[in-house]
Amino acid sequence: MSTVVSASTPSPVAKVSAKPDIGAIVKFVAVLIIALVVISPLFLLFVASLKPDRFQILADMGSFRAFWVSEPSLQNFTDIATFSGALPFGRYLVNSLIILFCTVLGGVFLNSMAAFVLAWGRLPGRAVVLTALIGLYIVPQESIVLPLLSLVNKVGLGDSFAAQILPWMASPLYIFLIYQFFIQVPRDIYDAATVDGASPFRIYWSVFLPLSLPVLATVAILLGIETWNQYLWPLMVTQTDYARPISVGIASFFGHDSVYWNSAMAASVMMMVPVLIFYLAFQKWFVSSFISSAVKG
C-alpha cells in the first residue's frame, strides 16, 4: 500500500535530475556486493552440481574455481534420473512430489471448508471449536512427534505415504488464516446466496472459494514449503526407500565415510528447483504469504 502512495507523491526535484548523485551509486554498489556475498553459497551449489568429479568439487572449493565450471556436465543429474547413483534420488523426488501434492490439495480443501463453517455456519458449538483450535496452535510439532510415531506404528501406518500426508493436512493455523479472511466477506454476499436456497457446501464452493484465492494461495505456499522441507518427522517415520522424501535422502549422505558430494549437490539442486520455479513465478505471493503468517500467527 505505502509503496503505491509514495510512488504517486511527487518526488523532490533533486531526485528527478538527470545526474544520479554519487551517494546513490555507492549505495547501489554496496547492496549489490552484499547481495552477491550473501547469495554466493547458492551459486556455489549450482556450479558444483555440474562437476561430475566429487574430488574435484572439494579441491575447487578452496579457490575461485569454486565459482566456475570449465566443462559443465549433467552426469550427476542423469545418474539420479536413471537411478544409477549411490542412492535412489529419483524415487525420493517422486515421493516428495506425491506427498507435497496430496498434502497441499487436501490441506487447502479441508482447512477452507472448516473455516467456512466456523465463519458462516449455524452449527452450535462453533465458538468452542474455534477457541480449541487457537489453543492448539501453540503446540509445537516437535512436542508431539514421538507420541505420534508410537500411535502411527500402532495402527500400522508406519513407513507409509499416509503417515506423512494425513497428520499435516489440517492445521489450526491455516484454518485460522482462512477464517480471518472469510469473516471479512460482507454479509450481503452470504445472504444473497442463502435467499437463492443454496446449501452450505454450494455457497462455500461457488461463492466463497472463488472469492478467496489470495488466502488460499497463501495457505498453499506456506503449507507447500513446510511439507517440502519436513525433516524430523519423515526421518523417524520412514524406514525404507518406499516413501522416503528427498530431504531425508540427501541427509543420509552425511555420516558415511565418503560423502558423495557430486550426487549430494545434484540432489540438492533438484530439491531446490521446484521451489525456485514457483518462487520466480509467484514471488509477490510468497513474500505476502510469509508476512500474513507472521502478522496473524
Binding site: M61, L118, R122, I144, P147, L149, W168, I175, M272, I291
Partner: protein, 298 residues
C-alpha cells in the same frame, strides 16, 4: 427476512460434514498425541512395545531428566544458540531491510534475491555449508588464512568444541534471516512518511532519524521478531542432527536432539515425552510473555 424455509437439518448436517474432516484429523494427529504425551511421560513405555508390561513411574522421568547433566548441557546449548543467533539474525535482517526500504534501482529484484535462503531447505543448506566449512581447505579456512596472512591455522569448524556452535549459528542465521527481513520491511513501510519529514524539519540527521523515529516505530515489530526467533531457536534440530550429531563432546546437543536421541534412538518413549512436555512449556511461556508485553502497551 425471506419467507423461504431453508433446509435447516440438511444444512446443519452438511456443515458438520464440512467441519468434521479437518477436526478429526487435528484431534487424531495433534490433540491425541499431545494429550497422550502427558500420560506416556509418567510411564516407562518404550517406542517398540516389550513383552514386559508398561509401568507407571510417576514423575520419575522428569526426575531423571533434571538430574541428567546431558539434559542441562542441551538446555544450556540451546540458550547459547538463541543468545548468539538472535542479534546476528535479527540485526542482519534489519540492516538489509533498511537498505532495501530506500529508493534503489532493481529494488524488487534485490528483495527477491535476499529472500532466497529463506525458501531453501535446511537439508540443502547443510550440504552447501558443510563444503564451506571443509577442513582444512574449505572456503572459510582459506579466507581466515588469507586475512591472517597464514598465521591462523585451519580450523575444523564443525569438529572443534569451541567453533561447532558458532558455525551452526552462522549457518542458521543465513538460512532464516529472510523471514525477519520481510517482517521488518513490512514494519518499515508502516511508518508514516510525515514522521521523517517532521524530524528533518527539526534538523535531525540520518543517525538521529534512525534512533528517534525508526527504532521506536518498530517497537511492535521488534517484539514479534524476537519472540518468533526465540521460539524457532529453541526448536533447533535439523542442522545439528545432520552436521554434528550433537557433538563434538555434546557442545551442539539441543533439547529436540536430546529428545530425539532418548525417544527414537534409545527407544525410551516415556523419557522423551517428558522432554517434549518441557519443550512445550518453554514455548508456552515465551508466547505468553509476548501476549503480555504486547497487550501491556496497547
Amino acid at each position: 427476512m425471506p419467507r423461504r424455509k431453508p433446509p435447516i437439518w440438511g444444512g446443519r448436517l452438511q456443515e458438520l460434514g464440512m467441519l468434521l474432516p479437518a477436526c478429526i484429523l487435528i484431534a487424531l494427529f495433534l490433540l491425541l498425541p499431545f494429550l497422550s504425551s502427558f500420560e506416556i511421560a509418567l510411564t516407562n513405555q518404550r517406542l517398540i512395545p516389550r513383552p514386559v508390561p508398561v509401568r507407571f513411574v510417576g514423575l520419575g522421568n522428569f526426575q531423571q531428566i533434571l538430574t541428567d547433566s546431558a539434559f542441562w548441557t542441551a538446555l544450556w546449548n540451546v540458550t547459547r544458540f538463541t543468545v548468539m543467533v538472535l542479534p546476528i539474525q535479527c540485526g542482519f535482517a534489519l540492516a538489509i531491510a533498511l537498505l532495501l526500504n530506500q529508493k534503489l534501482p532493481f529494488r524488487n529484484f534485490f528483495r527477491g534475491l535476499f529472500f532466497l535462503p529463506a525458501i531453501t531447505s535446511m537439508v540443502v543448506v547443510c550440504v552447501i555449508w558443510s563444503t564451506l566449512f571443509q577442513y582444512p581447505t574449505g572456503p572459510f579456512n582459506q579466507i581466515v588464512g588469507f586475512l591472517s596472512f597464514g598465521l591462523v591455522s585451519p580450523i575444523d569448524w564443525l569438529g572443534d568444541p569451541t567453533w561447532a556452535m558458532p558455525s551452526i549459528v552462522l549457518l542458521s542465521a543465513w538460512q532464516a534471516y529472510g523471514f525477519q527481513m520481510i517482517v521488518y520491511l513490512a514494519g518499515l513501510q508502516n511508518i508514516p512518511e510525515t514522521l521523517y519529514e517532521a524530524a528533518e524539519l527539526d534538523g535531525a540527521n540520518a543517525w538521529q532519524r534512525f534512533w528517534n523515529v525508526t527504532m521506536p516505530s518498530l517497537r511492535q515489530t521488534h517484539i514479534f521478531v524476537l519472540i518468533i526467533t526465540t521460539i524457532q531457536a529453541f526448536k533447533l534440530f535439523t542442522q545439528v542432527n545432520i552436521l554434528t550429531q550433537g557433538g563434538p563432546r555434546g557442545t551442539t546437543d539441543t533439547l529436540v536432539h536430546y529428545m530425539f536421541t532418548a525417544g527414537f534412538v534409545d527407544q525410551r518413549l516415556g523419557l522423551a515425552s517428558a522432554v517434549a512436555i518441557l519443550l512445550f512449556l518453554i514455548v508456552l511461556v515465551v508466547s505468553l510473555v509476548q501476549r503480555f508485553v504486547v497487550r501491556d502497551r496497547r
